[in-house]
Structure formats: structure tokens, C-alpha cells
Symmetry: D2
Subunit: 349 residues, 4 copies
């Protein structure tokens, strides 16, 4: 099969570079267009901005010339790594111009006809694309992936919600600095330090999971009805968000039943065969001191989440710790995974 030509919007930022890295040898997609802000336009990608990742800049993109962030681009699908303050209207214009847009930005996540997708969790929500196409009066559309900290939480909550029904979820995060982009956090603010605040993050975490774990009825998603409380902290870790979670269920469940539900979680066969789906999606540790960022963030090539310390909670039913790679599963990798789902479901071809 010929690879589908794809573009990256916001290609020079940290998430944009991660897209370029993860798409380098992708079996289904080929990067044919890079777009970024004015100061990069017209430069070769390698000259546009310092490459920040430890692996070399991929050969396929290093000499591509950066274009403006406007349609048309030589691509059928575009990945958006645009900052929130400009993503909204730009993504709209690409959708209106007929492109499939897989966005990592927050702008459209909560719109009624925009799917907020994790393939293993709510692949059926992609059906919202029909409604959106009506609105756009064309073939283009936008799908989104969630905030990094929401994504890994929802992946762990999915089998528990299915099996036991979520009623209450308390989550405290310890988030890596890469989540803030580049230059992002100043070293003086985080070396030997913790910042107990990330602007806008708690609001997203208290809202997005309800949509992702909601139910599709008559072409609309009705939110899940459990209650979420989030406290978000920035910690001196390069990559990998660690989250402490306590859960109360509709049906009582023991830690053993929770572990069993997590370990046995499997997406459907067609989703399991997507190039980016990790096997298993959820790794459960019994060692008392796991998961840890340096030891677990790269599990499943950064696409698996790792759960540990599953035990009774004196206040709710069960508490545990979940860890995921924030710029892979939680950002670029998640968006690419969604694009693969769109191909599987024939929204893109």
C-alpha cells in the first residue's frame, strides 16, 4: 500500500518534533509537509529550530522546507501540534478545506461533534465525524486526543469503569517538564523543587475523562457521570507523568479484582493490530516501588501505561499509581494512534 501523505502543523515545537520522530518509519504514513510559524517559514526543517530529541532528526524530513500554517498543504491528513491560542481557527480552516485533522491541541476537544479519542477506549466515538462533516459541508474533519495527564488516566480507568462502574475518582499528578514544551519551565523553577500548579490542567483533567468514558447515543456523546478531583504538580522529571489515583466504584471491587481487570484488558482485534497499539496497553506491576518514570516511561515504546501499588483505600475502594509517557502516548503518539484508527475505520484513505 502507498503510504498516506501527512503534514505536521507546528512542526518545530517539542510536540511537533516528536511527531516527526515517531512518523519517521511509520508503515502507513509519510511526512510530506511541515508547517510552522513565520520565523521558520522558508527554512529547511533542520535549520528552522534546534532539534531537541536524543535521536537524530529523521532523514525524510530534515530537508523539507517549512511552509505557513495554512491550507493547502501537500497532505491528506494533518497532525496539529499547534499551541492552544492559535490551534482553534487554523484547524477549522484545514477541516473546512477537506483535510483530516488529528489534533493534540485543547481547542476543539469538548465540542459536541468532535471526537476525543483513545483507540482502545472509545473508538466508536469516531462516528461523530459524520455530524462534523455535515457542519463542514465537506470531507474534512477534526479529531482530538486528550491532555497528556487525562489520557493515561483514562486508559487505566477504562477497564475499571466497564467492569465496576466509576463513582468517584481522585487524582494527584506529578508531571514531567517536557509537558510544558520548550523552553517551557525555567530550570531555576524546578531543579530541587516542585511546583504545585499547572495552569488549566486541573480543569482539563476534571472534564475530559467524562467525555472519553461517555456513551455514544444517537450521534452524540453523553458524558460519564462520575466525579473527578485533580491536583496537578510539576516535578523535576524529563518525561513521564506519575499519577496517584483513588477510586470508588458502583460495585465494590477488591484490589485483586482491579488488578485482574487491568491486566486482562484487551482492545478489539482490529485495534490491537494498529501499528501503534501496545501489547498489552496496561502493564501491572507487583513490585511495591513501581511504576517509576525512568524505568517505565518507555514501556510499549512509550504507548503502554504502567500501573502499580494497587491496594485498598481507607476512604474510597481502591488506590493505585499509574504512569505514562506524556509526549508519546500523551501527545504525538496518541494523535498518530488516532490517525491509524481513522484509516482502519476508513475515514481516511
Amino acid at each position: 500500500m502507498d503510504r498516506i501523505p501527512v503534514g505536521i502543523l507546528g512542526a518545530t515545537g517539542t510536540v511537533g518534533q516528536r511527531f516527526a520522530q515517531l512518523l519517521a518509519d511509520h508503515p502507513w504514513f509519510e511526512v510530506t509537509a511541515l508547517a510552522a510559524s513565520d520565523q521558520s517559514v522558508g527554512k529547511r526543517y533542520i535549520d528552522a529550530r534546534q532539534w531537541l530529541l536524543p535521536t537524530p532528526i529523521p532523514k525524510g524530513v530534515r530537508d523539507l522546507v517549512v511552509q505557513p500554517v495554512e491550507p493547502p498543504l501537500d497532505a491528506r491528513l494533518v497532525f496539529s501540534a499547534l499551541p492552544w491560542n492559535i490551534a482553534g481557527p487554523v484547524e477549522e480552516r484545514f477541516a473546512a478545506a477537506g483535510y483530516a485533522v488529528c489534533s493534540n491541541a485543547a481547542s476543539h476537544r469538548l465540542e459536541r461533534d468532535v471526537p476525543l479519542l483513545i483507540p482502545e477506549v472509545n473508538a466508536d466515538h469516531a462516528a461523530l465525524i459524520e455530524k462534523q462533516r455535515e457542519r463542514h459541508q465537506g470531507r474534512g474533519f477534526i479529531v482530538t486526543n486528550a491532555n497528556c495527564s487525562s489520557t493515561q488516566l483514562v486508559l487505566a480507568l477504562k477497564p475499571l469503569h466497564d467492569r465496576f462502574g466509576l463513582r468517584k475518582v481522585a487524582v494527584i499528578t506529578m508531571q514531567a517538564i517536557s509537558g510544558a514544551g520548550y523552553p517551557g519551565i525555567a530550570a531555576l523553577d524546578i531543579l530541587d523543587n516542585i511546583i504545585p500548579f499547572i495552569a488549566g490542567e486541573e480543569e482539563k483533567m476534571q472534564r475530559e475523562p467524562l467525555k472519553m468514558l461517555g456513551r455514544l447515543n444517537d450521534g452524540a456523546v453523553s458524558d460519564a457521570s462520575f466525579i473527578l478531583s485533580a491536583q496537578c504538580n510539576r516535578v523535576p522529571v524529563r518525561d513521564g507523568h506519575t499519577e496517584c489515583v483513588s477510586v470508588e466504584f458502583e460495585k465494590k471491587a477488591s484490589p485483586e479484582e482491579v488488578m485482574e481487570a487491568l491486566e486482562s484488558f484487551q482492545p478489539s482485534a482490529d485495534i490491537a493490530h494498529l501499528p501503534s497499539t501496545p501489547a498489552p496497553p496496561i502493564i501491572v506491576h507487583c513490585d511495591p516501588d513501581r511504576p517509576q518514570p525512568v524505568r517505565d516511561r518507555d514501556a510499549g515504546h512509550g504507548m503502554a501505561v504502567t500501573v502499580g501499588r494497587v491496594r485498598p483505600c481507607p476512604l474510597f475502594d481502591v488506590k493505585f499509581v499509574v504512569l505514562g509517557h506524556n509526549t508519546v502516548r500523551g501527545a504525538a503518539g496518541g494523535a498518530i494512534h488516532n490517525a491509524e484508527l481513522l484509516v482502519l475505520q476508513k475515514w481516511v484513505s
Copy 2:
């Protein structure tokens, strides 16, 4: 007034060194004896073990010769920085030999006739010393301070419990490496990493606050009856524990009422005048990104705790973040503060 001669048990460890540092210019106490394990006995303090603190080793102790950890010592009161696995019987022997023992170790904290003290919180619990003296048939006794992470939590909870009544408390900690002693945590385990586990810590945090916030009746403490859940994490921070707390009250209280209760908290006048009592004991921040270890751990010379991010909790009533210096207020400074209380109440003279 002549200063009271005091000794330090376990003087060469990190907490022992902190005792030596904080007692250097103490107006009421003078370090006259240092005791440590066999390999240090007979050496001058400065030669016994590498000095780990950034301030120079105090002149008054550098040439003291380290003695065995057994009575008699040339002191009326001894501070115990002994490791948990030997503190129990050694402290008993000192109490039996007539010494006042201010212990930072966990061994005796939960014993019925041993006070677990924070001067601003439960100074009246010192009355348990009477019972203990009956048991020891002498003037000696043991008082204890709590685990570092419990201490700062209880200081923040005290005014809230008094005013609104605690029903449920969920706490997630991000604890500094100095809490694990020296050598303690291996650098490979914590640089660019989080460890979501500290052996025994959650059990202490779920138990000790109930005693400290309990009520003294007929010479015994009846535990407070709220429910606590703790998740303890180790983070790459040198000093200062950060704790994310959610609280449900008996009487509903708004974030504003909680802030007011915290800010207006004042110990009684005699306790406020102890040399180590900070003014105020609780600092409340309105900046959204405080408290932070590097900016707040030294508040009140390490004896104040700092609270920030007081806001509604979707699950409970109010959530906030509290930070304290784990080896000052949470260890050596807390024990010295307790010793000052003993002088004030004339248990030691």
C-alpha cells in the same frame, strides 16, 4: 539562667547532625554529650563522620568525644536521633536511668503513656508523662515527635479540626530525599525519577495524626475519629515535603473560612514564646503556584509550614497544598521544640 546540659543519641547521622546544628546557639540548652555507634565511639565528633550540612560544624561540639549510646551521659535531657531498629530499648534504658528523652524515632510514638507532641497542637498531652513516670518508677520519661510528613500535616489540620471537625482526609506526599537519611536514596533511583513508595510511611501517616489530634481524658489520649488515606512518594528534592490534601469536615466550610482559620491560628502566649515557635506557625499563600520547596522550606527558620492553593474539592470540601521542612520542623527542630515545652511545663529543669 544556666543552660540545661543535653546529649544527642545517634549524633553522627543526618538527623543527629541537624540536632547539633540547631542546638548550636540555643538559649536554653547546651550540648554536653554526643553518643553514637561503636565505630564512632572515642573519636572527636569532627573526625567521626563526614559533616553533611552546608553550615560549618558548630564549635561547641566539634571536639567533643563520641560516647556509647548508653547511660550515663553528662546531660539531663537527651535527644534521640537513633534509627528505629535500635531506638526502642535504648531510649527505655535512658528513661529508666532518669533522663528526659525527646525522641525523633518511631519506636514509642504509639505507646499509651508516651506523648506524641507538637507544642502548638497538643501541649496538654505532655500530662501522659505522669503515667510514664509511675511505670518507670523515677523521674525519667520519653516524649516523641511524629514522622516528618505527619507533623506538617497535623499542624495544618489542627485549626481546621478545632473549627470545623475533620471527617475525612486524603493526603498525597512528595517527600524530599533527606528524609531517608544518609546515604539513603541512591542517586540512580531518584535523579530524573519519582519513587511512588516509602516503606512504612503510609501506615505512620494514617495513624499518628489521630493520636496527635486526639483528646486527653483521665490521663489517656483517645484518638480522633476521622479517616485518613495516604500515598507517599519520594521526589528529587533535597529538603521540604510537599503534601496535597483533601478534607471533608463535620461542618461545611468554604475555602475562605479555611484560609481564615489557618491564618489566624495562634498557639497560647506561653507556647508562642518558646524559642523555636515560629510566628506565625502557618503561612498562607494566595499565589497560585505556592508553596514550593526551594522558596518556602526555610520559612520561620524551617519551623513554619506553608499552605497554598486552598480551593473547593469536587469530592470532599476543600483541598490545599502544605509544605514543611522535613528535617527541621519534621525531625530535629520538632524534638527541640518539644524539649522547650518540657522546660516550660517544668517536666525538665
Copy 3:
């Protein structure tokens, strides 16, 4: 004696804040004016910018209203913490308007009639002020302190140059992030990393020490004639620069003689009595693993430098490691020290 009214130019940056902190209880100076860039002008100091230091913002300055960085200011002496790209002409205007300017900026350091001062090293160079006053045709003038990494190096080299004569000096630095200001270094660039480059730093280190260790003849400084090579690195340390130095002398000297020269170094009695002069200015360690930033940067309230590992060098004569506090001795503290010297020498009154 009435305290001399002083101003701080660039008061809201990291060095400016350090000036405010160190001047808080100064016996000779009182901060009466704060000046900063347009976005801060008109605001109270406490509201102008986030306070970055761990000690509280001093009471004497918190409510001062920030003024533009232009004369006149209500002060007789101004400390300049201005960035290099604007310091030059602004400091000139203050000097022309009759102010004594103690500048931490690089702009004027190498000008022929501007002293580049360290009180213990070259107090006599202040005589250049005479020449400068002729040029300014008034009482105003500029004195400068050196780059942070040069300052601590020169302080350690001074007794060696006096005693043995420097011929060659090789220095490799490991510099703290605070040296880059705020926001300065991005956390993603330095956590778990080293950056082997600091723009412009090696040029300064290879040039400034020659002036400071030069000789005053007929109202001009003739540079010292030894050769310097510098390699500057940024490391994940908050404060304190560590420098590895190898030295070849005119007269051969053993490590023991070098240690003796460093330990016995004393400034003249009047300079030793300046409020900021540490005693001793140079601390020599025999422990094989010192100096270290966390253990030695605060020596002498951040004004002393610490030397260790003095030993033979297979290529030159002797090698050693020297450490100093880059934002105290190496920046604001050094400039205040210079201002004290100006008072002592009656250039300011």
C-alpha cells in the same frame, strides 16, 4: 552614622533581587530607590515581579515604587544589575549626573579608566576614578566587579601571583544555572544534562583576570602578562560555580607552598574590616572531595571562596579546585563589597 541612600538599577531581575536581599540590613547603605524596565515602573516592588529568593522580600523595599532607569534617583550611589545590552549608556548617564555607579554589568569593565575591583585583590585600582572624573567633568564615576567565574578565580590566584608569579593558567568551569538569570536556562536543557558552552564567558575569563591582577602605574593599569585558557560549562546546580584550575608559576612552588599561600592570605586591616569581607577570604580544604556547591557555596555568607584538591599537575606546577557563590561574591555581593571600599577610600560619603 547615617546610612548612605542607594538605588538598584535593574532591581527586578535575579541579580537585582539579590542586591535587595543583601542590602536589607546593611550597616552603611539604605535602599531608597529601585529602578527597572517599563513594565515594572509605577508598581510596588512586591507587585512588579515574582520574588525568586528563598528568604522573604525585605520589608524596607517591598513597598517602594519602581522608577524608570534614568537619573535622577533619590540616592547617592547606584548598584547596576542591568543586562549587558542596555547597561553601557545608562550607567554613563548616571555617572555623568554625578552618581557613583557600582556595576555588575560587563559593559565598562575593560575601559581604561574604569576600575575592575575586588577589595582584597586590587583596592588600589580605585585610583582610576580620578581619571574618570576628569572625563565626566563631575563627581560621578563607574566602578565594576568582574564576571562571576572570573571573580572567584582571581581571588584564589591573587596570593599565588603575589608569591610565585603566574605564567600559565588553565581553567575549566562548571557553572550554576543562577548565573544565567531568570528565566535563563530551560529545564529541558539542563536536567540530567551538561551544556559545554556559555556565550561570551570564555572571552571574559581569558581577559578580566589580567586587568584585575595588573599593576597600577601612572594612573593606568598595565595588564598582568600570564596566559589564560578557559572552557566554560553549565551544570545542573542552582548556585555555586566550581572551577578546575592548573597553574604554572614563574618560581616553582609545591602544593604545600600553594596551600600555605592560600590559607595565610589576608587583606589589609582596613579592608578586612569592611562589612562584607569574609574572614578568611579563602578557605582551604584537605578532604579529598571538597569543595562542593551544596556544602561550600555559603561559606563566609557566600563571600568566601573555597579551594581544595591542591596537588601537583603533570603538565603545569599545581592543580586545584576553587568554588564560590556566583550570585553573592560573583555578582551582587561583590558590587556591594566594592561600594564599601569606595566609602572606606572616601570616594563616596
Copy 4:
């Protein structure tokens, strides 16, 4: 070709684990025996000690039962990751028992008939094996790889020595914590800190390169005759040693000539085809701020070294910065590379 059965001595330490990881899919070698100290003997590898690397424990070794560190082992070649204090006699016994020993330990590196090898540098030194076999009166022998910090230095010096002749080399290192093993460095000793000392390291660095760059004459290596000075520092970096190097040559060479010599360096064709030989072995950067540990340590799968900042030195001829992965090229990877060389040269079959 059937893979050669190999064993790992000291299999549970950090270097031992790195051997297991790097050998997991090796085309020429298959791990058939794991040996470690008494407390691990009899346990499955996965149960013997915490796995410290971020990639999962390889399937081929996880269930192997750990054996004592004595011959016989089911292997033809053994890799030694033994600590220096026991490696000496144990490796001797394996050699005497007929095994080829590829040792990462320092014990035998400087023995006259033991090759100290880097395949791209001194493959001909393997001829010393003949002499050794005479001594052992059998087929067994020991070959060694150098200290991590020496290895990357020598790889960069090799083309310069060949082309311009080394006369003087000054090197200052900034070494990663993984070089100290596990638990190794205490977090309290290195977080926000530098330790300007590594026991024994400077002696090794001042000695080993002379042997590696020496000449083989009549079955013995005569050391190279240049002079080396080393200052070794430990820095808060997980992996990757950074070294600042200044060099004086026999023949004058410009920075451009040095860069050209480094970039054009190529091992012979047969060595270039060894599985672990990176292409190129030396990467030269022109960006002013490279090499950096996080960006360059994994170059060439951790087997390449990266050089940057090549420029004139005011004291010697040229200075530059070189970076390599200390536990891959500098330890386990280097030993495996040597084993590949032994196969190529038919010392092992």
C-alpha cells in the same frame, strides 16, 4: 553460524545488567550462563536483584539460574563485570581453565601480556594473547577494556595521535553517576551538587591511554610518551561522560585540521563490519553547544563518541569537548566489541 555461548560474571550489578541487555539479540553471542555473588546463586536472574535498566529484562536470560563465579560455566567466553576487589584472581582462574575472558575490571589492564583494547584503536595489541597463553599454558586468556573515561578520550585522541603526534593532553571530566555502580552515589551527595573527586580515576586516566596508544614491538607494548593530566568530577547526570580536552601536538595542527582528522577517521574494513562498530565512530559537531549528555550519549547506539567545540587553545594547540556513553562504549559495550574482535581475529571460535 551457531552463536557462541557466553557467560556474564557479576551479572547482577549495573554493568552486568548492561551486558545482559546488549547481548540480548547479539548476532554472534548467546548468553548461556550468569554468575554472581553468593546471595544471588541459585535464584532465577529475574529474582536475584532489581532490574535497573529502562528496557525490560531480556527473555533469554530472565529464567537462567545464577551460578557461582567460578569455572566451569557453560560458555566459551565470559564477560567480566566483577568489582575490582575480586576480579583479579577470579578472572585468572577462568583464563587458566581455558576461557576467553573479556574484562571490564581494572585488575589486569596494565599487565604486560594483557591487551587493553579498543577495536578501532589498537586491534593489533590482541597479539599479546600469544604471550599470555604461554603463561597460562592453555587456550584461555584475558583481554580488557579501559576505564570508561579513558575509552572515549582515547577514541578521540587516536586519529590525532596518528596524524599530529600527541605531546601533552589535559583533560577535565564531568562523569555520570551510573559510572559508580548501584547503589553508588548517594542522592544527597549529588543532587544540586558536584563532587570534584572520583577515587582512583585520575590515576587510571593518566596511565591507561598511554598503553592503548602505545606501539606493539616484539610482542610487547611500549607506551606512548605524551604527558597526561586529569581532573575527574562527578556530576548529576545519569549517563554520559563529558570531557574537556586540551592538546599539544608534535606537529602544529589547526582546529580545522583536527576536525578533519576526527571526521575522516575510519577503522579498517573488517573492524568496521563488527556488529558493534558504529559508523562513524567519531561524530563531530559544529553547533557551539554540543556535545551534551541527553542529546548525544545514545549516538551510534551508545558506541560512538561525539566531539564538539574544536577551537584554538591559548596554552596548547587545540581544545575540544568529547562525550561518550560510559556504560555502553565505556563498559559493557566496549567489552562486547572486544569479544567481536576476538572472533574476527580467530582467538575465539
